[in-house]
């Protein structure tokens, strides 16, 4: 697993330790890229800042909350039309975004009075919303505005409201990951334990590190409800502010994205004795194992198995239709964060694609340990790549498709590499059994798009063929397949609905007869 030096980065020798190639027989004790370090000046990192990590990644998916940034209006850039952490309350949290609009005069004279005015104005503009989070920015941190004092003053004057203050200015860490840490710890210090929830089940969990990208959380919630489990809170996708104040009452923390939210899990473990179980929500086998583990924990594994059997029978023939057509395609898995390791092995095993490269923009070395362990030999692993390194890697690896964010994705298109949005998805959700088939369908559509085939023509020198007729994806994908696969009666393309979430929101769930509880299971939160 030697370090890999990019030609474009030869003038930046520090970059050499940020990329490795996974060699045959090599393990994690032999080489691992550096990670979570200060950005090297001049490399044009694609990272976000610590404010972005706290506000845009972790905080804002909370749904019934006014999210107010105390700073310049430009800090609120990332909301509706970029983020897709939807909610079941009409997407209030991304439909509106709020900033105090700090200017030079506020930097000189202070902005606390303006902050108080803004808070009251926002609550009056949305009288049904009684909860607020206030995010510090670089500007308000540098002048030392006491946001907590202002929030306390407002809460005294308006006792019906509750306000959470998050001090995570942009410079609060090397990347957005520093902000994940700060908001996790701030939330448990300020808010957890300040409300007592209604417990409605013998089995109570917090679902942590899940942001409801295009409905991911709601898909998983459906499985948990079908098992008779009460999801006390989701940190933070589609999560309610008050539910998240009651996290201390769960029996178990189920953790999906470790590095964005393991901090709060670890604190809940230490302070309240609630154990942490890491799960995968992507892919048939990992998801099945996850549901089974949660079932085993509570002694209700037969309920998990019933879901696994039903969903596998329904969706596996559709996944396999795509697997036959995606087998051997090369993928650059460049998602930025946790999909690095959630997807690295399972897209290979369940969709047949070859992962030729993994990267993370803001991940820690621990994230890369997971990704490298799971990807295949020969894969190029890159920490915090820049645009030129990305271009060089794609020219070297020649992937058939890239899974990444929209900025590097648009760059990839210039090299005629189709891209799939790994952050916000193309047509998600991708979690769950059906979601995994939707993902396979989107990959298939990206690779075999007839329109995309045209991009391989260079109109500056290639002759435009006039003898080529109309083609479909199916004609392209099936050209090399055997008769038995092409005409298989057992396999079929995706048959789900465009919107697979709306029906879940109206669904009713069965009541389960009480079961004898395992000895360790005391009343929720009693630990």
């Amino acid at each position: 697993m030697p370090y890999h030096e990019f030609n474009c980065s030869k003038c930046i020798p520090e970059r050499k330790k940020h990329a490795v190639i996974k060699g045959p027989g090599e393990d994690l004790s032999m080489a691992l890229p550096l990670g979570y370090l200060n950005t090297i000046p001049g490399v044009i990192s694609e990272r976000g800042c610590a404010y972005c990590g706290a506000k845009h990644v972790i905080g804002t998916p909370m749904k019934d909350v006014i999210h107010l940034s105390h700073g310049p209006v430009g800090c609120t850039y990332d909301t509706w039309q970029t983020k897709r952490y939807i909610s079941d309350n009409k997407n209030f949290q991304i439909e509106y975004t709020f900033a105090t609009d700090m200017k030079e005069k506020h930097v000189i004279f202070g902005a606390e009075k303006m902050l108080k005015q803004n808070i009251i104005e926002a609550f009056k503009a949305f009288p049904d919303i009684k909860r607020m989070t206030i995010y510090q920015t670089c500007a308000s941190a540098l002048i030392g505005d006491d946001m907590q004092a202002v929030a306390d003053e407002v809460m005294e004057e308006m006792p019906e409201v509750d306000i959470f203050v998050c001090n995570s200015p942009g410079f609060g860490g090397p990347s957005q990951s520093g902000g994940h840490h700060k908001i996790n710890i701030a939330w448990i210090n300020q808010k957890v334990g300040t409300i007592e929830p209604k417990i409605t089940s013998d089995y109570v969990i917090n679902y942590v590190g899940e942001y409801n990208i295009q409905g991911d959380q709601e898909v998983m919630l459906d499985y948990f409800k079908r098992m008779g489990i009460q999801v006390l809170s989701t940190f933070t996708g589609n999560g309610s502010y008050d539910d998240l104040r009651a996290m201390h009452k769960a029996h178990l923390n189920v953790l999906e994205c470790a590095r964005s939210a393991e901090y709060i899990c670890n604190e809940l473990r230490k302070r309240y004795g609630i154990p942490r179980l890491d799960i995968d929500g992507f892919g048939f086998e990992p998801l099945s194992a996850s549901l089974r583990k949660i079932g085993l924990f509570f002694g209700i594994e037969e309920r998990a198995q019933a879901i696994i059997d039903e969903e596998t029978a329904r969706w596996k023939p559709e996944l396999d239709w795509y697997k036959e057509r995606l087998r051997g395609k090369k993928v650059c898995l460049w998602p930025g964060g946790s999909k690095l390791w959630h997807w690295a092995h399972v897209i290979h095993e369940e969709m047949g694609v070859e992962v030729v490269s993994v990267y993370t923009k803001f991940g820690h070395q621990g994230d890369m340990e997971k990704g490298i362990s799971r990807c295949e030999e020969g894969a190029l692993a890159i920490d915090d790549p820049n645009e030129l390194e990305g271009l060089e890697a794609m020219e070297m690896l020649k992937p058939d498709v890239i899974f990444t964010g929209k900025r590097p994705g648009e760059v990839a298109k210039k090299l005629r590499v189709p891209y799939l949005n790994a952050h916000a998805y193309h047509n998600g959700p991708y979690k769950g059994f059906e979601g995994w088939v939707r993902f396979a369908r989107d990959i298939y559509n990206a690779i075999y798009s007839p329109i995309h085939q045209l991009s391989f023509l260079d109109i500056s020198k290639d002759e435009i063929p006039a003898d080529k007729g109309f083609v479909t994806r199916r004609m392209l994908s099936d050209a090399g397949l055997g008769e038995d696969v092409r005409n298989s009666a057992a396999l079929r393309q995706y048959t789900g609905r465009m919107d697979c979430i709306a029906a879940l929101r109206k669904k009713t769930y069965p009541e389960f007869l009480p079961k004898p509880k395992p000895a360790f299971l005391e009343p929720a939160g009693a630990a």
Binding site: G35, D278, F297, W341, S373, F520
Partner: protein, 116 residues
């Protein structure tokens, strides 16, 4: 360690490194606890013993151990032919190797960082 034992140990370790997540907690002490808790209970299950599950933490270790023991039995049929002492010796080697890969031999400089 003889060649056969090493081959078997590598297979068991590879399975954990590729399929599991519990070995990668972010602190060195936490990884040691996870390895000891889960691999200890996996050994007991493979030997036909009944591990303790009377605390939430034990229950959590046990859950991952059940899944691991089931996977080992299904994927590596030779494990079903081993005697209890052989299983214990093999799993001890797996435990030592996991501690090396994830803790003592790990290049992850953040494992002992106070400000992780």
């Amino acid at each position: 360690m003889d060649d056969l034992t090493k081959t078997r140990m590598d297979q068991l370790v590879d399975h954990i490194m590729k399929k599991c997540l519990w070995q990668f907690h972010s602190r060195a002490w936490d990884r040691k606890d996870q390895n000891a808790g889960i691999l200890g209970k996996t050994t007991e299950l493979l030997c036909g013993d009944k591990p303790k599950t009377d605390t939430p933490a034990d229950r959590c270790y046990w859950v991952d151990a059940v899944c691991l023991a089931e996977a080992y039995k299904a994927r590596f049929e030779w494990i079903n032919t081993l005697a209890r002492d052989e299983i214990r010796a093999l799993m001890k080697a797996v435990h030592e190797r996991m501690d090396f890969l994830t803790v003592t031999g790990s290049l992850n400089a953040e494992l002992t960082d106070q400000h992780y």
